[in-house]
Amino acid sequence: MATETATHHDTDQHDHHDQHVDMTTADWDGGAPVFKASYGKLMMWYFLLSDAFTFAGFLIAYGALRFSSPSWPVPDFVFRLFPFAGDTVLPLIFVTVMTFVLLFSSYTMVRAVQEGHRENQRGVAVWMFLTIIGGAAFLGCQAWEWATLIGKEKMTVTKNPFGTHVENGVYLNADGTNSDEVFEVGASYLMHHISHHAHGDDHGGEGDHAGGHAYEVGEEYTEAVIDDRGLIHRKYLVTSGPDQGIVKTESYGPKAFGGLFFFITGFHGFHVFSGVVFLIIIFVNVMSGLYVKRKNGYEMVEKIGLYWHFVDLVWVFVFLVFYLL
């Protein structure tokens, strides 16, 4: 009798124990999705989180280097050109257009996901196509921006022709006299390449190097020094501070600017590029009717959608720290 009770009690406890195990592992035995989200969506989110760490690393490097430099190129001076607008000064306008292109493509992506939820193949295809166009347009804009910086303004990973004046001063004329181009502390300058110096520049007024002589690489003139890359370092007379009365030559701006710009926007651009590639692959799958058979509300479109919105999300922060601040 006693043993019987004990045995019964034992099994009872055993059952109870089993049940307990079942409850703690219920989410993990494959029966139910963790966090009520599919494996793919969940892992896409955690991939994006890890990607956010990489971008944050870049932005931390940018923030720390920028604020540790005595001067830094002013973004609205560096990014002031617009395609087909020549040398017209349109600060930050082009990069705003780029932001709108990316925002628009984010909206079309949301619409594609929504059409996917109601299993509307045609709707998904149309909106995904528009998203691909948006992504490609953004890449095109970035290509122009890079081409201008590298080709026209001669920015490299280690050489940055955008500088900032740390003293008041006045530029010199070809005959060594003071020109009418006066600048103050904090004014930005861009050292032009000899091939561009004929078409005006951004130092405010023109009317310098009136001699009209052609500059030669590696030569020194009364009003400028030409370095071995063909950039014109203009000379100026300092009119304030302890070095007042001394003639100085424009120097390169903070070295880190070019490297940070190319690596951060390049890494983001690489994300946009791979996003476009994946969008095209999934677009082809949508057209082929692959996801119609799966009957899961076009989950693949939702996953690439997450990635695409993340690219837009990162751009919000790149736009903030690189262009706005």
Binding site: L49, A56, G63, D76, G305
Partner: protein
């Protein structure tokens, strides 16, 4: 279902319009703060920076919660992603401050070094001219 679809469609449209509007406001503030819109008007950098970071964070929240559907996920999941992301934003801001401190220390050291250099220059005047003589034909005769 059809009702849900119409509703989410209008939410998406409202969100994108809001994001576009905030972007325009941000650019206007950036240009206003740097004296492009009103000649000679410059706003304090710190104030502009804070407003800009605030607006950008608001944009980020809108993108994550509406476009990426985070508001429809389980709260524990949302926390597991958002908490690390929030810490990253803090890290970016903290390192800007850190960089500023590096700059101040470097300036401090430079100022001290400049003082030492001036003392040394007074002690030994800089050598001028060159001792190297170029030889010409007369030296060999």
């Amino acid at each position: 279902m059809a009702h849900d679809y119409e509703k989410s469609k209008s939410i998406a449209l409202k969100t994108i319009l809001l994001l576009a509007f905030i972007t325009v406001i941000e650019v206007i503030i950036a240009l206003l703060g740097k004296g492009y819109i009103i000649k000679g008007f410059h706003a304090p950098v710190m104030l502009i920076g804070l407003v800009m970071i605030g607006l950008s964070l608001f944009k980020a929240v809108k993108i994550i919660f509406e476009f990426m559907h985070m508001s429809y996920e389980v709260p524990a999941f949302a926390k597991s992603v958002l908490l690390p992301m929030g810490l990253l934003v803090w890290a970016v801001i903290a390192f800007m401050q850190e960089g500023n401190s590096w700059k101040e220390r470097r300036e401090f050291v430079n100022d001290k070094n400049k003082g030492i250099e001036e003392v040394q220059q007074e002690e030994e005047p800089k050598q001028t001219g060159s001792l190297i003589k170029e030889l010409d034909e007369s030296d060999f005769q």
